[in-house]
Amino acid sequence: AQSVAQPEDQVNVAEGNPLTVKCTYSVSGNPYLFWYVQYPNRGLQFLLKYITGDNLVKGSYGFEAEFNKSQTSFHLKKPSALVSDSALYFCAVRGGGSQGNLIFGKGTKLSVKP
């Protein structure tokens, strides 16, 4: 069965420092991987995805993610964090079968301090 794990409940970063939010996955077949961000009392917003191609994927708001097949990881990164990046981040993998749903991790709360 497809699954994702986000090992950190919370990540704290100083503004201007690089940030990494970790995600590992378990799939049968080729993985379709996604990152979403959720601001308080809002819906989930799509950041980026990996389906095929380059292992380094660039997305919205200066975020990028690196697909690593040997380590089954898809970590989210940003070179220089902003206070406005503070939010809840979800990693997701496409489920098996034809329904095309996404299976989400439990989420990582990112806190960026000035």
Partner: protein, 114 residues
């Protein structure tokens, strides 16, 4: 372009009451989904639909029902509300094609059952 629209945004129910959460999308997407989000648990799939007239259960369908009479609308029905159904509910949709896969989310419906 409204995307995915959910109503109501907030609702308080008494135990045993019933209600319907409305979801409509204007992107002509065939695939639609209902998730619930509980703190620290990520998102769990309740029901999904691959097109008008076709629905199926997700991971946590008990206590819910859905219908899909049109491409645009995918209402979620709660029968005999219970405190365990206190949650934030998200509707999402997805297009089709070789490079799609991401879900587009509504802003959520926050339900409290007392």
């Amino acid at each position: 372009n409204a995307g995915v629209t959910q109503t109501p945004k907030f609702r308080i129910l008494k135990i045993g009451q019933s209600m319907t959460l409305q979801c409509t999308q204007d992107m002509n997407h065939n695939y639609m989904y209902w998730y619930r989000q509980d703190p620290g648990m990520g998102l769990k799939l309740i029901y999904y639909s691959v097109g008008a007239g076709i629905t199926d259960k997700g991971e946590v369908p008990n206590g819910y029902n859905v219908s899909r009479s049109t491409t645009e609308d995918f209402p979620l029905r709660l029968e005999l509300a219970a405190p365990s159904q206190t949650s934030v509910y998200f509707c999402a949709s997805r297009g089709t094609g070789p490079n799609t896969g991401e879900l587009f989310f509504g802003e959520g419906s926050r339900l409290t059952v007392l």
